[in-house]
Structure formats: structure tokens, C-alpha cells
């Protein structure tokens, strides 16, 4: 297990340790979600090697970490473009134009959901509720930046920003 840790940088390990410290010493695996986020931020996506390295570091079975990584939408099990755009298509967003927003992005970028543009710049994903139904339609850029009221002109502006 120790040799897998070469996968993660010392900075990432330091961040993971900070998360691990939040839980009892024999419950290291409680930090798995945070650790996967840290690993994904560093690597861009979660390869099976990365997941195995995180699992090894937390003393848990690789498949247990894979269960988590495959369950949640915001973990990427495939490489993504420089900007990952996630459009919410859950019911409240859908009622307020979420699907149209997604269609507009698709048309602009010439890709469908779960695809990446040929230049590797954009990946489009279908997202689950982001907890901001009042701001519908909502989009998320690279899991971190929330964009509200995404009508066509906002989308154009966003795409222009993402160089």
C-alpha cells in the first residue's frame, strides 16, 4: 500500500491528513469523500490508480472507495476537459429552463452530455440538484463555481470567460 502513495503529492497528503484529523483515529475512512475531492483536484479526475491510492492511504478496501467515487456525481471517473460544465436537470430546474440551458450549451459546443470538445476545453455533464432551485437554471463550473439564472446570454458570457 505504501508504494501507491507516490500517486499523491505531499501537499495533497497534507490536505488529506487535515481531513483525517477530523475523525477518530480508527475511523480514517470517514475522510474518504474529502480525500477523493483533494485527489481529484490534483489529478483532474479519478483514475482507478488514484482511487486505490486514496483507499490505501485511508486503510480501506479499494472497492469501498470506488463505491463512493462512483456514487456521487461530482467525482469524475473519466478524464474531463479544462472546464467541466454541469447543468442541473432535476425537476425544479427543468421546469425553469434547465433543459433549454443544456440544449443551448450543447448547440454552442457541439457536444452532448458526458462528452468533451475536440480541443479538450469543455466537458458537459448532467447534474443533480445543487440546492439553488430559486436561481434556476443553474450550472456549475469545475464543481466549485456556481452560476445562477443561466439564460443564453449568461451562457455566452460564461463560455467566453472560459479560455
Amino acid at each position: 500500500m505504501t508504494n501507491q502513495n507516490d500517486m499523491l503529492s505531499p501537499e495533497a497528503i497534507k490536505k488529506i491528513d487535515r481531513e483525517v484529523a477530523k475523525y477518530p483515529a480508527d475511523q480514517k475512512q470517514s475522510a474518504v469523500m474529502a480525500a477523493l475531492v483533494i485527489a481529484q483536484d490534483e489529478k483532474g479526475w479519478l483514475s482507478k490508480e488514484t482511487i486505490a491510492a486514496v483507499a490505501g492511504y485511508l486503510g480501506m478496501a479499494p472497492i469501498a472507495a470506488y463505491e463512493v467515487a462512483s456514487f456521487y456525481n461530482m467525482y469524475d471517473l473519466q478524464p474531463v476537459g479544462k472546464y467541466k460544465l454541469t447543468v442541473c436537470t432535476n425537476l425544479p430546474c427543468a421546469l425553469s429552463g434547465g433543459v433549454h440551458a443544456a440544449d443551448y450549451v450543447k448547440e454552442k459546443l457541439g457536444i452532448d452530455f458526458n462528452e468533451t470538445t475536440a480541443d479538450g476545453r469543455f466537458t458537459l455533464k448532467e447534474g443533480e440538484c445543487m440546492g439553488a432551485c430559486g436561481d434556476a437554471p443553474v450550472m456549475l463550473v469545475n464543481n466549485k463555481r456556481m452560476c445562477s439564472f443561466m439564460l443564453p446570454e449568461q451562457i455566452d458570457k460564461l463560455l467566453a470567460e472560459c479560455k
Binding site: 482507478k48 486505490a52 480501506m60 478496501a61 479499494p62 472497492i63 469501498a64 470506488y66 463505491e67 462512483s70 456514487f71
Partner: protein, 786 residues
């Protein structure tokens, strides 16, 4: 105790029971899929919904604790409606492919669908399809049939000790899978086939070969490790098609190891000996039984007459039945030979003649789980005794402290309290340190013979940690157990290890015992298949070649402590009479006559397991070809040699004579040694060999089981060393190395890094054709780059 009423019947149940447990106590069946008594509660299949009085909605019986005065209705209108609803949901995505499904006829889903399913579904949309997974050579998958009960996942995590399966993705896309690119490699993997309530996980070797209703069932006993797991052997047209566990809470619970489950494939190996054969003028000829038996009896009689009975040696497989061993020793003693032994892999016989009785587990198997402190000495526990390891794993979860003293730090998948890993020659010294440390903690004087041991040589701190763990148990160690594994029994200082364990158990007030290596490791003593005064033991009769040998069920080149020496002595002998279910090239080279005898599935017989339990079984199938039960062959040989006392009509009569009746447990079990001399010198200089007997190479039957031979545990032997040893020899992991043992022919193996080994040790598996030439299992080796 709580009072509960189920379907109008009241009963008392223990606090903390669930409704389903209470119902089972009453004999009331509640339909279920995900619930299993040995696994944690998941409550995800929802099939066990029942009506509970005053509860607003149906409750899952497997996850609802009983409260006092609770009234439960398992078959009320509400309960049945709920169960039918669940069944409809389960069948939404389940393919209705029972006619081509291997589980058909023994499928819980199929059975319950008869009771709770409707003839049509409201669901008209497309069913989901789930890609199949590669779980290795033993378990076949049809994941589309999976109902996501997670029993297999809970089994790998809780019973086998490492979560090799998981449920990935979410919702409708959830699927059970191993980690990407991995297979299920645990030595207990076959149990997930039994656990799977549908046809998602089925047996790969058995697949599509028979329907369950075509099979006849016979109870039997496992011929492999010392546990004596209870089996159901299923046959069709006198061919063993499958082996399943027979539940016995005192022995194997409801589990089987993969070795026990899949070794039956070896029964129909192409190497089965089906006709008696004799060697005439260097040519092998198939002959009639009468000719072969005449030939064998004459050969033995001639040697006895010209060279005396002591010129004959008897090597019995520890996997032979009690009856076979008893008749074999009677035959040899009738020929005036005291040279008889079944302890083929043992190398230290200094305790012979000093033993107070038959060495055994020292406790009941079920009591292993009641120990609160355990020290395992010299054991590849997980591979040698997988179900004992499983029991200790559960104990550790309940708070027992398990420690190990061994020469290899293999991952036991058990939370260990302490461990001491030392080279084989240092094991006695480390154990002596543990004894001294326990004596010190207890404030009593240790055996003065131990005073000068160890100083500076061994890891005293590890020994002290083990001692502290042992003493911290209830009543200062009264519930502590010291278990000596196969490696300790095969160790060149086995008697010393045993005597030290005895001292340790004495100081603690606990117990100690041996984990029986083979199915009849205790039975061999009961059958008197050991040399008494003047006789030669297994090692001695091979070291000092005999004129003739009688070999029963063993392949000495693979089953003896020193395979190379065994092969040399057998080749030199004038006459080797082999009773074996299998033939091998080596056997054709050294034997004079080959008598085809039945393996365990084709003979009646008895195994005495490591706790001394006498377990008899009947034949499950007719003998293959002209093979005959070995006890009958030995009886006829006895008659042909005009020996007295061979007038047996059944194996039961043999057993009655051997055991003096039909006891449940054999008498004379005692691990004590009188006047043991401690041999605490750590002699070897150089690279010491640590030889494990790989799980799928331990006996002739399992060596011939093709599916097991493809399993991860059957990888070709390597020369394993730790980083320091590799560096000292100037090697890197993966290099081809030439390994030699004191001048004899060397073998070439790949070097492999193994962080779990102590310094100055090279681990090379025994019982494998590639390593026979290395000779003794414990030896000093030279290693150089090839």
C-alpha cells in the same frame, strides 16, 4: 427475555433478538433474501416485511428488534400484500431466464416467486442489463440476475476479512463488482455462490453440468485440513459433480474453503489410477487384481524373509482414513516392521515416546471463538486453516486479542494485538522470551533453562508485547489459547516449541494445542500408525533407505518434509507397493506395483478431526474403474500374507477394533510431553528457508483440481525475500535466481520482494514440482543471480 406473539403463538426470546430470529425459533418461515444469520443486517431486499401490531406500516423482520409484548403477523393480508409488492419490484429487473439459469431448481427467488409472484408484471418497459464480471476461475457471474441483496459483499468484508466486492454506482445503475481489474481471490470465495439467493453467482466448474434435482446427495467429511468440515457430496451417474457445505455449527459453521469445495474436480482427473499395474522387466502392465495383489504380497514377503521386517517402511498419507491407517499398520506390524508413520512433513520426532497422549487442538473447535487471548505460533493460518482464521477474525471483532509468532508476516486479515516475525531458527528463542516475559508479569520464576536464551538475538520487545497481551486477558490469561500451526509442527525444533507452548499455557492457566495439518492428523495416532520402540519414523526410514516401502495415498516426493530424499530412497528400494487413487510419473518410476484405491468419495471411512471428533462417512459414488476401497485392498493383502486378525467384513468393524467401539471423540488426547529437553540453539548460518505448503498443493487430490490450480493462490513458487536480503544478495525483485541447498542440484526461480519476511530468510514453497529438488523444507540455502 422478551415475550413476543407471532401469528398467535407466544414465545420467549433473548433481548436484542430480531423478529426473523424469533420466527425461526418458532419454525415460522419469513421470506427473505438479504438476511443471513452469519452476516450483518442490511434490510435492503424488503422481502421480509411483516405486520406488527400498532405499527402504521409493514416492518422488515430482519431489522426490527423484538419488544416486549410485540404482536407480529407474518401471513396477514397486510404482510402478504407487502411481500407481493416487493416481489413485483424485485422481478422488474430480473430476467425470467430460469430455464437457462444454473440456479434453477435451487433458487430462493424462483421459489419465493412461486408463492408471492404474479403471473404478469405491470412493468412494461425495458429491463436493465448489467455487464458480467470476471471473479476468477471459481465463481461465474450473470450480473443481470443480481437483486443487489449485498450478501456477497458483506461476506467478503465480514467473513473473509477483506472487502473484495462492492456495490458501485447508484440507483438503477447500482451493480455489484470487484475493484476494476481485480478478481475475488479469498480462499473462501466459493461461499458467495451458496450465499447468492439468485443465479448471479454460480460455480464456474459446475456450470451447466447438471440440474440440482438430478443429483444424489451424500453426507461426507472433508479429506483436507484438520477441521474435518462436513460436506454434501452430490453425484450424478456415480461421478461427483459438486461439493457443498453441510452445516455444522461446531466445525465449519455453514462455510467451506475453496479447497474443500472444488477439490472434487481432482476425482475425475486423467491421472486417476483405474487398473492395477505391475512393473515387469521395466515395463508397466495392467493386470487383474489377483495378479497385482499376489505380486505385492510376494514382494513384501520376500523382503521380510530375506532382510527382516525392519527392511520394510510404511508411509501413510495423513489424509488416509482411520481404517486405512489401522489396517496398514497392522499389515506392517504383521510383517514384523515397526517402521510406520503418517507424519510425513514432520522433521522433529524427539517427542516420540515421551508424549502423554495424542497431540490435538487442546480444545473444541467451537471453543476457539471463546478464547479472549490467542497466540498463533508458526502458522500460515489463513491458507493452512482458513476456517480457523475466520473464527479468530470474528473473535477479534468481539474484542479478543490475537497475536502471532511466525517467520512470515502474511496478512491474516485479522486485527492483530502483537506480532513477532523471526527467522525459523529463532522461533524457539522468541517463544522462550514470551514465556519469560509472562513469568515476570505473573511474578513467578520461569524455567531456569530459559535464562540464557535470546540475549541480543531476538526481538525481545515484540515478545514482551505478546506476553502483555496474553496476561491482560480475563483472570490473567485463563481464557488464553496457544495454537501451534503447521509450520511449528514441521519445524526442526517442533518438540521445543510444543514444550514452550505447554509452559506458557501452564503459566497463564490457559490451553494450548495443535492445528491439525491434515484430515487425519489425530486419527493417525488413534490408528497407531506411528512407530513404537525400535521403529523408524517417516524421516528416518527415508534417510536410511529401506528395501521395500508400502505407500498409502501419499506422493512422498511432494508430501514429505524432504521430497528429494524421499524420491531417492524410493527409487533405490527393491520393491515399492503403492496404494493410490492417482498415478504420477514419479510413481511409475519408483513403484513396483500400483494398486488403484478409492479416494474419500468412493470409500466408507473415518476421519478424526483436530478436536478428536470421530466422523465417519459412506461412499458417495462407486469406485472409478477397478479402483477399490483401500481398506478392502489392505484386508486382502493381510489375508494373502496369512496374517491374523484381518477378517473384517466392513469398515465399521475396522473402526470398532481401531477405536474400541464407536466413540464420539477418541480417547487419549493429551498434548503433554514428559521430560522434554529444550533445544534452544539457533544454529543455521546463512539464508534460512521458510517453506509454506501452498493451499492448493497440500495433498494429491487438490493438486489435480484444475480450477483451483488456476486460482491466485496457485501461483508458481518464487524465492521471496525482504528488501535487506535482496540487497545483500545483490538482487532485485523479478531477477531469476539459482537456489541451491548444500551441493544438490539447484532450481531456478524468480526472486520476489516480500516485506513480511525477516532478514536472512528466503521463502520458497514446498509440495510443488518446481521446488522438490531443494530437498528439506527447513534448510540453509544459497541464492545467486542466474
Amino acid at each position: 427475555m422478551l415475550e413476543i406473539e407471532i401469528d398467535g403463538k407466544t414465545l420467549q426470546v433473548a433481548d436484542g433478538s430480531t423478529i426473523i430470529e424469533a420466527a425461526h425459533q418458532l419454525g415460522t418461515y419469513i421470506p427473505h433474501f438479504c438476511y443471513h444469520k452469519k452476516l450483518s443486517i442490511a434490510a435492503n431486499c424488503r422481502m421480509c416485511l411483516v405486520q406488527v401490531e400498532k405499527a402504521p406500516k409493514p416492518m422488515p423482520a430482519c431489522a426490527t428488534p423484538v419488544t416486549n409484548g410485540m404482536k407480529v403477523f407474518t401471513h396477514s393480508e397486510l404482510a402478504v400484500k407487502a411481500q407481493k409488492g416487493v416481489m413485483e419490484f424485485l422481478l422488474i429487473n430480473h430476467p425470467l431466464d430460469c430455464p437457462i439459469c444454473d440456479q434453477g431448481g435451487e433458487c430462493q427467488l424462483q421459489d419465493l416467486a412461486v408463492g408471492y409472484g404474479e403471473s404478469a408484471s405491470q412493468y412494461q418497459e425495458e429491463k436493465r442489463v448489467v455487464p458480467d464480471k470476471d471473479l476468477g476461475p471459481l465463481v461465474s457471474t450473470d450480473m443481470t440476475r443480481c437483486i443487489n441483496c449485498t450478501r456477497c459483499i458483506r461476506f467478503t468484508a465480514e467473513i473473509a476479512g477483506f472487502m473484495e466486492l462492492g456495490q458501485s454506482f447508484r440507483g438503477e445503475r447500482a451493480e455489484v463488482m470487484p475493484f476494476i481489474g481485480k478478481t475475488v481471490d479469498t480462499e473462501l470465495s466459493g461461499n458467495i455462490i451458496d450465499l447468492c439467493p439468485v443465479g448471479a453467482l454460480t460455480s464456474k466448474p459446475f456450470r451447466f453440468s447438471a440440474r440440482t434435482w438430478e443429483l444424489s446427495r451424500r453426507k461426507s467429511v472433508s479429506p483436507h485440513d484438520g477441521l474435518g468440515s462436513n460436506l454434501i457430496v452430490q453425484t450424478k451417474h456415480d461421478r461427483v459433480m459438486r461439493v457443498l457445505p453441510l452445516e455444522n455449527e461446531d466445525i465449519n459453521e455453514c462455510w467451506l474453503t475453496d479447497k474443500e469445495r472444488f477439490s472434487y474436480q481432482g476425482l475425475s482427473s486423467a491421472e486417476r489410477l483405474t487398473k492395477p499395474m505391475v512393473k515387469q522387466g521395466g515395463e508397466w502392465k495392467e493386470v487383474d487384481w489377483s495378479v497385482a495383489l499376489d505380486y505385492a504380497s510376494h514382494a513384501l514377503r520376500d523382503v521380510a524373509k530375506t532382510h527382516g521386517g525392519a527392511a520394510i517402511g510404511g508411509l501413510l498419507s495423513p489424509h488416509a482414513t482411520l481404517e486405512e491407517m489401522y489396517l496398514a499398520q497392522k499389515l506392517l506390524r504383521g510383517l514384523d516392521s515397526e517402521n510406520i508413520d503418517f507424519r510425513l512433513r514432520q522433521s522433529d520426532f524427539s517427542a516420540d515416546g515421551k508424549r502423554k497422549g495424542t497431540p490435538w487442538l487442546g480444545m473444541k473447535i467451537a471453543d476457539i471463538g471463546r478464547l479472549d487471548r490467542v497466540l498463533v505460533v508458526g502458522s500460515f493460518l489463513r491458507k493452512d486453516h482458513p476456517l480457523v482464521a475466520q473464527r479468530l477474525r470474528q473473535s477479534a471483532k468481539r474484542g479478543a486479542q490475537i497475536s502471532i509468532l511466525h517467520s512470515a508476516d502474511d496478512d491474516l486479515l485479522i486485527k492483530l494485538a502483537a506480532r513477532a516475525i523471526a527467522a525459523p531458527s529463532q522461533l524457539p528463542a522468541v517463544l522462550a522470551e514470551v514465556v519469560k516475559a509472562v513469568a515476570e508479569l505473573k511474578g513467578v520464576a520461569a524455567d531456569p533453562a530459559l535464562a540464557k536464551v535470546g540475549a541480543g538475538l531476538v526481538d525481545v520487545n515484540a515478545a514482551k508485547k505478546i506476553a502483555a497481551s496474553l496476561v491482560s486477558g480475563s483472570d490473567g490469561g485463563k481464557c488464553a489459547g496457544i495454537l501451534l500451526g503447521n509450520f511449528a509442527q514441521q519445524h526442526p525444533q517442533a518438540a521445543t516449541l510444543s514444550a514452550l507452548a505447554q509452559q506458557l499455557a501452564g503459566l497463564l492457566g490457559g490451553s494450548f494445542g495443535f492445528l491439525g495439518e491434515a484430515a487425519n492428523s489425530v486419527g493417525g495416532y488413534a490408528a497407531k500408525a506411528i512407530p513404537t520402540a525400535g521403529g523408524l519414523n517417516a524421516a528416518a526410514m527415508l534417510k536410511d533407505p529401506r528395501h521395500a516401502y508400502v505407500v498409502v495415498g501419499a506422493e512422498p516426493e511432494l508430501d514429505c518434509a524432504d521430497g528429494a530424499q524421499a524420491l531417492a530412497s524410493l527409487t533405490k528400494a527393491a520393491a515399492v507397493v503403492v496404494l493410490s487413487p492417482f498415478k504420477s510419473q514419479a510413481m511409475l518410476d519408483y513403484a513396483a506395483v500400483l494398486l488403484p484405491v478409492s479416494p474419500f468419495s468412493e470409500t466408507s471411512g473415518t476421519f478424526v478431526n483436530t478436536e478428536g471428533r470421530v466422523q465417519s462417512f459412506y461412499a458417495a459414488a462407486k469406485p472409478l474403474g477397478e479402483a477399490r476401497p483401500a481398506w478392502k485392498v489392505l484386508r486382502v493383502l493381510g489375508n494373502l500374507l496369512d496374517l491374523n486378525g484381518f477378517a473384517f467384513n466392513s469398515s465399521e468393524e475396522v473402526r470398532a477394533e481401531a477405536l474400541d467401539g464407536q466413540p464420539e471423540f477418541v480417547s487419549g488426547l493429551d498434548n503433554g510431553i514428559d521430560g522434554a529437553t529444550l533445544n534452544l540453539t539457533a544454529s543455521p548460518n546463512g539464508l534460512e528457508r521458510v517453506a509454506d505448503v501452498p493451499i492448493h498443493f497440500s495433498d494429491p487430490l487438490v493438486r489435480r483440481a484444475p480450477a483451483l490450480q488456476q486460482a491466485a493462490d496457485s501461483a508458481a513458487p518464487t524465492a521471496r525475500m525482504n528488501a535487506a536480503t535482496l540487497a545483500k544478495c545483490g538482487l532485485a525483485s523479478g531477477d531469476k535466481v539459482k537456489v541451491g541447498a548444500g551441493g544438490t542440484a539447484a532450481v531456478t526461480l524468480p526472486a520476489q520482494f516480500d516485506a513480511g519476511l525477516p532478514d536472512g530468510v528466503v521463502r520458497i514453497a514446498a509440495a510443488h514440482a518446481d521446488t522438490v529438488a531443494l530437498g528439506a523444507m527447513s534448510s540453509v540455502l544459497s541464492v545467486e543471480k542466474a
